[in-house]
Amino acid sequence: MDHQSTSASQAPLAAEFVNVSKSFGAFTIIDDLNLQIRPSERVSLIGPSGSGKTTILRLLMTLERPNEGEIKVFGDVLSAGGEGAAKARPDREFRAIRGKIGMVFQQFNLFPHMTALENVMEAPVQVLGTQRQEARDLAECLLKRVGLAEKGASYPSQLSGGQQQRVAIARALAMKPQIMLFDEITSALDPEVIGEVLEVVHNLAHETKMAMLVVTHEMGFARDIADRVIFMERGKIVEDASPGEIFNSPRNDRTKAFLNAIKR
């Protein structure tokens, strides 16, 4: 395939979905989707539940495999369905590509048997081979950045939901991803702590150059963080435009209907 050489010679896209489909049994979640994310781009994915937003993130993180199509990260094929699935990459190469992506989950998924600090240190030490002391310094720095400098020794069960989610953000940052995926990161939180988590992500957006893909039901946040908003329905992209356009003058009737329903 000469795809790689051509896309590598131009500035490669951070992530690209080429004719990707995903179904669970008879139920099609993602329907022949094409999507391109440029480096450092901030993209919000909005839409009704079951529209496939989360599945896009899970496909990109390789938590799910596509049935059809290809997913590329910085020009390299990360996963593919159909015929492409047969020729899987060697594990080392595959992980080198996957390592460019990080993810924060709705349910935090912190490791309950490790302290906050250990949660953040674990992957740099074990996966990247970082020296313990260096990883500890990095972890402390990141915990400070998410406002949890004193909570390093606490176990997840001793932290509030908002604090756990901020540890999870620090944990994902410790792997220095170039694309960060945020999957409904405030949906499992009590209303009073949502703000502290959103603030952390808001600051990140200003301080870093990572590409960000954000799935959220918080429309204010979706608008604030993004340079581009994608409205999805039934596994398809319905509208893909700037936040101003989508929220002020949506062109598609279904986008309008969705935004009106949310406002009410």
């Binding site: 989950f105 998924n109 176990y155 994902a172």
Partner: protein
């Protein structure tokens, strides 16, 4: 009372062998159980059918029959093992089959999100299991392990029937030599009870702390 003094060295030696059998075959059963349980989770195709057969055969036949089979039939096909080795081998394979199912179901009980998180942190599967999944699954396994430890201690009495001089066999020999079945068998009964009570207490404690929930250690800093 004099008789009791006279036979006590034999009983103690028997009790020692019983404990040794329990420890050796228990350790081996844990190794077998973890290896088989993890191999079954890995879904390696050429292994899955032999392992499933191993588990079904050892779980659906009598352990005493297994012991006799290994003791009487293995030598016929040229494999000669010491009685003690045979006993340990059968007990390890028998309990290993049960433990592999405990290991498997405990690992399957760990939340899907933990697997997702290890993938998002780009961990290879082996690392994910070693550092994240298995450490969380072990507290889930412990109550079952405790129960099997007690069952194993009792099951070691079966190998008395292939001439291993553990506690039960020692007792049977003493009865043949001295008579006095009441005193001797009651002594043995009590010794088994004494050996079992620490395990009973341990199991009670494990049950109280169970539910499989991970309880944080007290933070040190």
């Amino acid at each position: 009372m004099n008789l009791l003094l006279e036979i006590s060295p034999v009983l103690l030696r028997g009790a020692y062998t019983t404990v040794l059998l329990t420890l050796v075959s228990g350790t081996c059963a844990l190794l077998v159980g973890f290896a088989v349980g993890l191999a079954r989770l890995a879904r390696t195709r050429w292994l899955s059918i032999p392992l499933a057969i191993y588990i079904e055969v050892f779980r659906n036949t009598s352990s005493l029959v297994q012991i006799f089979y290994f003791f009487f039939v293995l030598p016929l096909i040229g494999i000669r093992l010491e009685a003690f080795t045979t006993g340990c081998l059968v007990l390890a394979l028998n309990f290993g089959a049960y433990i592999s199912e405990v290991v498997r179901s405990a690992i399957l009980s760990i939340d899907r999100g933990q697997h997702d998180a290890t993938i998002a942190l780009n961990m290879p599967t082996s690392l994910s299991y070693r550092r994240i999944i298995i450490p969380q699954a072990i507290p889930v396994m412990l109550p079952a392990f405790g129960n099997y430890a007690l069952e194993l201690l009792k099951a070691t009495s079966l190998v008395s029937l292939i001439t291993i001089t553990e506690l039960t066999f020692s007792g049977a020999q003493l009865v043949q030599y001295y008579g006095h079945p009441t005193l001797i068998y009651m002594s043995i009964f009590v010794i088994y009870l004494l050996l079992a009570l620490p395990l009973v207490a341990l199991n009670k404690a494990l049950e109280r702390h169970s539910g499989g929930q991970w309880k944080p250690k007290v933070p040190t800093t």
